[in-house]
């Protein structure tokens, strides 16, 4: 004979349908006879039902866009391999603050005078994550109202800023691509050329990074897609929110133009 206390223990797995067959039979037999336990199981099942049918919208409401600099810091956490970070950052808040500032500075701010990249320890994903943050930041800083169709001028200016030659692919109406301009952005321990486009209304960035090799990859991070490839001692990272096919068009075009 199963007692109420025994049912108590089995109630949640019973309601969830995750109970052993033998136990289920015993609980069902008890519920036949015991009104309070039956009432309780009905309440619990009803609440479960409501929760499960509302789960998608509850999850959506609870998903908050994390701040960009937090995303950049988390991506940087992977990059540093966390050794120094863990030591100096995790325990005390002071340490955390300086680590956060350092990471933010390394990722976002222009320090100036830093030449040459040490990127071998940076994984492709982390690189794409950090560049996606830069893409979001720069698309806000540079409103798409002044397209530049003079590729030579853009190449010359960004080449001077970076200190190494940068090949820039110009506008390409057939795929709805408009060149906006280029600037030097900070990445890792050095800087990269950041070439900005619009495809339709959607901002697209092509980053040109010297001195790194990466196998061709398509990946997604922070709701964006990225295409990565290397050629002639440069690595290219294309970032945008387009679907795979549209971004693929840009990738194909950029590959044909920059090599």
């Amino acid at each position: 004979m199963v007692r109420c206390e025994d049912v108590d223990r089995l109630m949640t797995p019973f309601v969830d349908g995750e109970i052993a067959d033998a136990d289920r039979a015993a609980v069902e037999a008890h519920l036949e006879r015991c009104t309070p336990c039956r009432m309780r199981s009905t309440m619990e099942a009803a609440a479960r039902q409501v929760l499960r049918s509302g789960a998608a919208s509850l999850r959506e409401a609870a998903t908050v866009q994390a701040p960009l600099d937090l995303k950049a810091r988390c991506a940087a956490a992977a990059r540093t391999g966390s050794r120094e970070a863990a030591r100096s950052g995790i325990r005390q808040r002071r340490g955390m603050m300086s680590w956060r500032l350092a990471a933010a500075a390394a990722v976002v701010l222009a320090v100036g005078g830093v030449v040459g990249l040490v990127l071998s320890r940076t994984s492709t994903t982390v690189m794409a994550a950090q560049l996606t943050v830069d893409h979001l930041k720069c698309s806000k800083l540079f409103p798409p109202n002044s397209p530049s169709d003079d590729v030579r001028v853009v190449e010359q200016r960004v080449g001077e800023q970076c200190g190494w030659p940068v090949r820039v692919a110009g506008s390409h109406p057939a795929i709805g691509l408009k060149l906006l301009g280029a600037r030097r952005c900070l990445f890792g321990d050095g800087h990269v050329a950041h070439v900005m486009y619009l495809q339709g209304n959607e901002p697209v960035s092509l980053f040109v990074i010297p001195g790194r090799q990466s196998d061709p990859r398509a990946l997604s991070v922070f709701g964006h897609r990225a295409r990565v490839w290397s050629r002639d001692g440069r690595t290219y990272v294309l970032v945008g929110r387009q679907d795979e096919a549209r971004l693929g068009q840009v990738a194909q075009y950029a590959q044909s133009m920059t090599h």
Partner: protein, 190 residues
């Protein structure tokens, strides 16, 4: 961080897939961190700590298991540890008291209480928010995030039996809250 595994072995690509998948969950973790920490600054610290630990201990993650559960576990454990440093074991004290009061609460036998269709999302969210934290978290992890009892036990650092009883009482408290909300709404409408 109980899981013991081979980690994202298999080289660079596996590591990258791991990082990619982990970073893709950042908004979800941040939402949860906001709920747990209650303010943005602490939520950001919590998320950053979580990723530092996740990447640092990546080799302990068992490939093929639930990465979301693993990250949520780190997040919750980090939150619990931070709170323990502020006050000694506040969670256990709080929830023990609450569980007693819940057990003492009289059962409801209003037949109308059992009609739970047409619950509005806003009502559901408000009723959930009104639950004591220990129950809200257990119910949320089970019915909204759909984690297993064992996963929730390691997140909240309590035995599986406690997880089940918190889910059970949390659901019934939620049920009562929804019924009261509906009754209140009806009074206003009349």
């Amino acid at each position: 961080m109980q899981p013991q595994g081979r980690g994202p072995s298999g080289g660079v690509l596996a590591r990258q897939a791991f990082e990619e998948e982990a970073l893709a969950l950042l908004d979800r973790l941040y939402g949860t961190a906001l709920r747990l920490a209650g303010n943005r600054a602490d939520a950001e610290d919590l998320v950053q700590d979580t990723y530092l630990k996740a990447f640092r201990f990546a080799e302990r993650f068992e490939p093929g298991t639930n990465l979301k559960a693993w990250l949520f576990t780190i997040l919750h454990n980090t939150h619990l540890n931070a709170r323990r440093q502020v006050r000694r074991n506040p969670i256990e004290v709080d929830s023990a008291a609450v569980e007693q009061s819940a057990a003492a609460a009289p059962g409801r036998d209003d037949p109308e209480a059992l009609v739970m269709r047409d619950v509005l999302d806003v009502d559901l969210k408000a009723a959930l928010d009104a639950l004591p934290e220990a129950f809200r978290e257990a119910v949320w992890l089970r019915d909204v995030e759909e984690f297993s009892y064992a996963e929730i036990a390691s997140m909240l650092e309590v035995p599986i039996g406690t997880v089940m009883s918190r889910i059970s009482r949390g659901r019934r408290l939620l049920h009562d809250g929804l019924v009261e909300r509906r009754a209140a709404g009806r009074t206003v409408n009349l």
